[in-house]
Every structure is written in C-alpha cells, then in structure tokens.
C-alpha cells in the first residue's frame, strides 16, 4: 500500500469545508490594510474534501509500525504500553479548554494536578523540587545545566567545562554546548562503566558538572556511583542525571540518594505519555535544595490553602519555554502514576529488569553481548559476530522489520561497534519476547545462509530500503543551485 501526497491529490475547487460567516457589519481586510502588508499570492495548500482527507491520513497511519501493533524494543526509548485512559484524561474539556492566562482561582484543579505530580516525581527520584516546564528530555538537560551554571555563578565560581561520558546520548553534549560550556569526554572502562581514573583525571575546578545516566546507555548500573559522586562533589562540581533510563529502578533506588543534584525525567518514556512519532514529550527537572532558587519561573506554590503560580523568583534562570510546560502530557503522566501507585511503579521496574535479563539470556549465543550481565532494563548486543558474513546491525534491524517487529536502537551507544540496543519494557509478554528471540535466530541463520537476501530486507513493507545517500546528494545539489527539486518539500511540477 502506498499513498500519494495530499498535494498530489489536490484539485482546484474540490469540495471544501463550510465555515461560519462573520455576521457583523465590518469592512474586508483588503479595504483597510495597506497593500504592501497583504499577501500577493495565496499559499499553495492542497484542496481536498473531508472524505478524502480522512482516507489520506487513515492510509498513512496504516503505513506505520507502532507500539499499538508491534513490539518496539527501541533501546533508550522505553516504548511501553500507552494506557488509553491517559488519553481520555488528557482530553477532558476541564483540561484542554483552559487558557494559560486564566485567573489562578479558575484553574485550581490544574495547579493541583501539577503540584501532586511534582510531589510524586520528587518521591520517585529523591529530590526537593521539580520544574515541569521543559518540553522534552533535551530541554530538561539544558534547563538543569543552566541552573547549575547559575548556582556556580551565584557563588562567583565561573566554571566552564561539563564532563560527559563517551557512552552518553548526543543531547548531553549538545545541551552543554548550548549552555556555553566546553564539553570534555570521560572514557568508559572495560566493564562498560565510567572510568574512575579518567574521571579523576578530567575533574578540575573548571568543571561545573558531570552528566551521567544510570543505568548507563549500556544498560549497566554504575556500581561505583557513590564514589563518582564523592569525587565530583569534592571538586565543587555537580552531578547531573539524565533520566532516560529511570524505568530501571523506580521504587528500588533513587538518583537523589546516589548523589545526583539535578535530574531530568522523560515523561514520554518512564511515565507512558505517548511519543507521537517524535513528540510532544515532557522533560521535568528535579533538583536538590541547593538548586531550588534557580528553578525556572513560575513554580506552583501553596499559599493560604490556594495554589498559586509564583513568578517572583529573583534567582530563577527565567523561562525555558512559554507557559507552564506541556500540560497535556503532565495530565497523562499523573493519571498513570495514580493508576500504578507506588507498588505498581516498583513492580514495573522489577518487571522491566526481569524482561531485559530474560531476553538478553535468550539472545546470548545468537548475538554478541557488549558486556557481562546482569543488565538493568535494557542491554546492548552487537552484530559484530555476523561481520564475517558481511552483515551489519542495520541488516539485523531490517530483518526484524520484515518479521513484523520494530527494530532495536542501532549504532548507539557509540562505544559498541554494530550496537543493537534492546529494551523490552515491562509491558511486553514473555510470549512476545520468545517470538522476538526466534526472529533473531532466523536472522542469524539467514545471515549465514543467504546474506544477500538479508541485505535486501525488508520485503513486504510499503517501501524497501531507501537510498538516504542519494537524498543527501540531491539536497546538496538543490542547496547549491544545481537542481530545482528541494527534496525537503513537495513542489508542483512547473
């Protein structure tokens, strides 16, 4: 099945929507506004009738794999079941129809939800306060680093470096750079954990913070985390927690207890807000007391039995985005937390760890494992052992697509060659994991017996492997004026 672009289906004067009339006595814009402020040519939007539009998007939807239909073991992304009741909660008019500039007395339910969510997240990660403002994980990182920067500056301490492990996610160094820091990489040791020796070597009074995730991106718990924290704190630097991997230990242990000073969480991972094909998410940041004065404004505060938005925070780093965060996602995450409870969240993490270890065990012997077990909620395998047959991680991924599974994260973390990062989550059954292991077994066999066929995977999907290199080349040609086709957008054939 394929589907043309809406632009390609468009016809002039196709039946369009009926809309209300103005019904007041007032002149047309063209009668009042100066000509140079008016649009000369109408925008080339497609013109399609409602029945055609609905079919168009229904057909597009059916071209996607998604958690709703497929196992989606995308490591580092915690693709767990998105509860339908969350969607109902978030669609309540009592939430969706609130204007962000309504009076606080008219939004006590919304503020209460934010307050309670903040309390719950504080309990999960062990911090003193949480800001719900950041729109996603990356923005949470940057928000936290700006608070750390403000903290140091407030003490007259102009620190210029941020340490980032070599296994870190790309947003970590990018967020550090966006905050004006120099990024210094810290090496992993042979056991996949951060090298204390290298850390020691890189630490200095110039260092503002070390960014870590735990379990790290190899799925391994940083068992020397307390030593790491001591080393870092000893130099006056702060410890930052990238919460992408929080699903590993809710109710089991807490980043705050490990010594982390600031923690971002991805509500669109751990707390089941759907990923939407690339967002929106939400990236709240929790901080220990030292950093509280620097939280973005406004915070939600309780005063005289009423909840208020507190904008008067003199040391605040200010605003990182408009309004109060992705409120709709906060509703979903809070609904999830209420339904799961403390007991449920803990069992979720236990099951996530159990599932990952089970699936890891089933794949051992088929794929190389990056490091010894046990793992936490995810593990990194490698297609390295298939290299002799000319097979790469990419081929394994495509072989999985062909077998009705989404693919694990591949080529990340960078420290593992041909990395295949698998995160089953707690909401996948043993039966599904067994079927996945069987698929990997088939693929490994196919790699040996008919690698050429595997190179051509996936078959039976809407398209085969797409030539991304050619695309990049064509864009280049366009940007250099050698071609009329922008490649990045549809253009009518002249």
């Amino acid at each position: 099945m394929t589907e043309p672009l809406s632009f390609e289906k468009s016809r002039p004067n196709a039946h369009g929507p009926r809309l209300p009339d103005a019904d007041v006595d007032a002149p047309d814009p063209t009668a009042i506004l100066p000509r140079e402020l008016l649009r000369a040519r109408p925008p080339g939007l497609p013109r399609l009738s409602e029945p055609e539009i609905m079919r168009h998007y229904s057909r597009l939807a059916s071209l996607n794999y998604s958690i709703s239909e497929q196992f989606y073991p995308l490591g580092s992304c915690t693709m767990k079941y998105n509860p339908v009741v969350n969607e109902i909660a978030a669609a309540l008019p009592g939430f969706t129809d609130l204007h962000p500039y309504q009076g606080e007395d008219t939004v006590q339910g919304a503020l209460s939800l934010m307050w309670r969510l903040e309390q719950a997240l504080c309990a999960v990660v062990g911090v003193d306060r949480v800001t719900l403002q950041p729109a996603a994980g990356a923005q949470g990182e940057w928000t936290a680093l700006r608070m750390i920067q403000a903290y140091h500056r407030s003490r007259g301490d102009a620190r210029t470096q941020v340490l980032v492990p070599d296994s870190a996610h790309g947003t970590n160094p990018a967020s550090a750079a966006l905050s004006g820091f120099e990024v210094v990489e810290v090496k992993s040791g042979p056991d996949g954990r951060i090298s204390l020796a290298d850390l020691d070597a890189k630490l200095s009074p110039k260092v503002a913070a070390l960014m870590m995730t735990n379990p790290n991106t190899l799925g391994l718990f940083e068992n020397e985390i307390l030593d790491v924290a001591e080393l870092v704190h000893a130099t006056g630097a702060m410890l930052y927690y990238d919460g992408a991997n929080l699903n590993a230990f809710m109710g089991i242990c807490r980043p705050g207890d490990m010594g982390f000073d600031a923690v971002h969480m991805n509500l669109h991972k751990t707390f089941t807000t759907p990923h939407g094909g690339g967002g929106p998410g939400a990236g709240p940041v929790g901080v220990k007391a030292d950093l509280v004065p620097f939280l973005p404004a406004p915070t939600v505060e309780r005063m005289n039995g009423q909840l208020k938005l507190d904008f008067k925070r003199p040391q605040s780093i200010g605003r990182v985005r408009s309004f109060y965060g992705n409120f709709g996602m906060l509703v979903r995450a809070y609904t999830y937390i209420v339904a799961m409870g403390g007991d449920g969240l803990k069992q979720a993490s236990l099951d996530a760890v159990l599932s990952a270890n089970y699936l890891r065990h089933e794949l051992e012997g088929l794929l190389e494992m990056s490091h010894g077990g046990p793992c936490m909620h995810e593990f990194v395998a490698s297609a390295h052992n298939l290299a002799g047959d000319g097979i790469k991680a990419l081929d394994v991924a495509k072989g999985l697509l062909e077998r009705d599974f989404y693919a694990p994260t591949i080529y990340f973390p960078l420290v593992v060659p041909e990395a295949i990062m698998v995160e089953p989550t707690e909401t996948e059954s043993k039966g599904t994991m067994d079927a996945f292991a069987t698929a990997i077994k088939e693929i490994v066999q196919q790699a040996r017996e008919s690698p050429a066929a595997l190179h051509e995977a996936p078959h039976g999907l809407p398209v085969g492997r797409l030539d991304e290199v050619a695309t990049a080349r064509q864009i280049n040609a366009y940007l250099q004026g050698q071609s009329e086709d922008p490649v990045l957008r549809w253009k009518p054939t002249p």
Partner: protein, 430 residues
C-alpha cells in the same frame, strides 16, 4: 498496577531461565545502601477510581465557553475540525517513536514531509523543519541560526514581541553569550532583527521595512508570524525575511493550559544547514518507489553532538500532524475565511468597545487583524465583572509592560459569534 503483563508463574519461569533465584540477584550491581524498601506513594487504583480522581481535578477548573472567550495573547480558541483529533488519536501515529526506521514509519515521515511543505507554502519560504516545541523556542532557535550564520553576537528585538518569547530568547542567548537588545535599528554587530507580525498586542508592524533595514545592516530578518494571519497578510517570503518562526497552536490545537502546542520554523535555502531539529526528505528504494527519510542529520545532536545546531531531539510531531490536518482541511480558502471572520468581528467589536465612555483604542493609528489593545479605566475590575458573567475578557498586558497600564487586548475568532459580541458589550454595560 494496571499496566503490567507477567503472571507470577511467568516471572518465576523467567528467573529460572536466566538461572537466578530472585530479582535481587539481577540487582546486585546496586549498592545495598541505595536500595529503598518501597516508593512512598499511595497504592495503585482501579481505572474507575483513577478516573474519578482525575475527573474531580478537571471539575475544579472553570472552562469558559469558546464563544465567550475574548482572551488571546498567543493562545486562541478557534474552531477545530473533528478531523484533527480523529487523525491524531490514531494509535499508529501517536504510539510510534521518532521515525528512525523509515520502511516501518512512512506514515509519520510522509506526514512530516507534508507539514514541511505546508509551512513552506504558508510562509513563502524555501524549507521548513519538522517542528519545534513552541513559538517561543522557535523564535529563539531562529536567532541562534542567525548567530551561527552571521557569526555576530547581538539580536535586536523590535516592538512588542510576546513577553514570554522574549524571556526564552534571552535564556537561549545567555548560554551562547549573545546579547538581546530591544531597539529599532540593526547595526554591524547585529545577527538578526526579530519582529512579530501582528505583534503581541495584535498590531501590524511594517514588516517589509524592518526586513529591509535589517538587510541593510547585514543582519538577518526573523519574522515571528501568526499562521492564520498569513492567509491574508504578506508572508515573510514575499517581503524577503530570511527566517519565519512562530506558534502553530491556532492550527487545530486546544489551549491545553499552555501546551503542548507546536513551533514552526522556515527559512531561505542558504540557511537550511543551520536549521535545528528533524528534516524529512524524499528518497527512493531499489525498485524506484518513493519514500521519505530523516535527512541532513549531520546537523543534529546524535551525529554532531556538541557541535550540533541545536540539542532538540524529541520535538512536537503529533502537534505538527494536527496542524497538517487542520491546514489540509481548511485549505487556503478556508484559512482566509476564518482570518477574515476574525478580522471583521474584531473591527466591529473594537468600534463598540471604543464607544464605551472612558474606553479608547490604545494605538488608534495602528492597524490590526483580530486582536487589538484598548485602554480602559480599572481593567482588573472589568475582567472580574466579566468572569462573573462567564466571559473571559481581554488580556491585561500591563503585567508585562509598565507603559501599558489599563490596556487590555481583546481577540475575536470564528468562534465568537455575533451574539457573543452583543453579550460581551451588554455585560460591560450592566
């Protein structure tokens, strides 16, 4: 514990297969001193009880009827076609991740490609990206693009830019050591001139003139635009602005107490490599079938890391999808019609409000579209009175601008029917 799967027997079977006796054996890497006995949160609830709690929270908010909402300031009540939610509520869209595997993600990829095209058409610029978090961060990222492109370290903001966008621009700039200056003129240090059209008060600015003067100083012109307005107003591409950025909430998204909404950003061809975030391009497979892929990823954090154009990763795809459905549903004619309806009603209302004794247009010499400032005696009291009658009156902008004491901005869209205008005026009279 609603969303678990395993039976106790399966848990035992998996532990046995792994070859360990208990979960503790899998958690050995965690220092015992860090283990906590339990999470200090209430126990889980049934779905029925959960929804009872959530419904109770929702019921503690006051929803103003859309037709009686005259407050804007960056977030607007508009007619949202039922088609929008019918599309965005499809699990195939909303439960997918960022489309890393193109063969299994053509639905998401093609819809983003369509979004990019729609925004490029609307702004009359060459290329748009896959989406930004919101209007504020879109404007800030646009300024960062100008900084990278020109190598200059100052951004000049002309006129009434949305105050929250201004704050975010300052936050972004601060980290990168860029100075943000309110002013009217660019100079040789200026990376970009930023203006909002219509501005935060709803007033029209001389966008062509500002663009020209930016260019004269070798700076880029960044237009922060209202997408609906572009059905009527000259788009950035027509007057030569380099980057358009803005907020797409009006394109089919609910106010949602401020989010999630969606930011968009579009630019001239020669700035494409400076764009933050995802970009989707057309590609072909070995059989010659067209498909779509994430492309130009060398700009992005997962490849370029600390040298990326931005740190953005997860963006606002599903909101961009909503905006695409909206724009496709409305078409150019539909968008023009709602823009005109808002224009006419706002002009009718402005006349009626300015006729109230003591009330006067705040910038009578300036043009506006569907939002306008009016100076009133005792603004806060007026708003309280309206609220008592179920009307969400204008926005008191004094909160942000000292010089605008007593100024309220009122907004009209297609949801404020003629009778609603009457009700507003009557309520003010009573």
């Amino acid at each position: 514990m609603a969303y678990l799967v395993h039976s106790p027997e399966e848990r035992a079977a998996m532990l046995a297969a792994i070859g360990v006796a208990s979960m503790d054996d899998l958690l050995i890497d965690i220092p015992p001193s860090l283990r906590i006995p339990a999470l200090e949160l209430p126990s889980g609830l049934s779905e029925f009880e959960t929804m009872a709690q959530i419904n109770a929270l929702a019921a503690r908010n006051r929803v103003f009827a859309d037709r009686l909402t005259f407050r804007g300031g960056g977030v607007y009540r508009r007619f949202i076609p039922a088609a929008v939610a019918a599309v965005t509520s499809k699990p195939e869209f909303y439960t997918a991740y960022t489309p890393y595997q193109p063969e299994a993600s053509q639905g998401t990829l093609q819809s983003i490609f369509e979004f990019q095209t729609l925004i490029a058409e609307l702004t009359a610029l060459d290329v748009a990206n896959a989406s930004m978090y919101d209007g504020a961060t879109a404007v800030a990222e646009a300024a960062m693009m100008a900084h990278i492109h020109t190598g200059r370290n100052e951004v000049v903001v002309v006129g009434y830019l949305h105050p929250e966008y201004m704050e975010v621009l300052r936050a972004f700039s601060d980290g990168r050591g860029i100075k943000v200056r309110k002013g009217t003129e660019a100079n040789s240090k200026t990376a970009a001139v930023v203006f909002q059209q219509p501005d935060f008060l709803g007033l029209l600015v001389d966008a062509p003139g500002l663009t020209e003067s930016a260019h004269r100083a070798g700076a880029l012109a960044i237009a922060c635009v209202d997408p609906i307005s572009l059905a009527i107003l000259a788009p950035p591409g027509e007057y030569g602005a380099d980057i358009a950025a803005g907020e797409g909430q009006q394109l089919g998204l609910s106010p949602n107490y401020g989010g999630p909404h969606v930011g968009f950003i579009a630019c001239r061809k020669d700035l494409v490599r400076r764009l933050p975030g995802r970009l989707v391009g057309a590609a072909h497979d070995a059989a010659g079938r067209r498909g779509f892929v994430l492309t130009l990823t060398a700009r992005e954090q997962h490849i370029r890391r600390e040298r990326a154009t931005s740190n953005i990763c997860t963006n606002h795809s599903l909101c961009a999808l909503a905006a695409s459905v909206y724009m496709t549903y409305m078409g150019a004619d539909g968008m023009r019609q709602v823009a005109e309806v808002g224009f006419k009603r706002a002009h009718a209302l402005a006349d009626r409000l300015a006729a109230i004794p003591g009330w006067e247009r705040a910038f009578p010499e300036r043009q506006f579209l569907n939002e306008f400032p009016i100076r009133v005696p005792k603004g806060p009291a007026v708003l309280r009175k309206l609220a008592r009658k179920g009307i969400l009156g204008g926005l008191d902008v004094h909160r942000w601008f000292r010089e605008l004491k007593g100024v309220l901005t009122f907004t009209c869209t297609e949801v404020n029917d003629a009778r609603a205008l009457d009700e507003l005026v009557e309520a003010l009279g009573s």
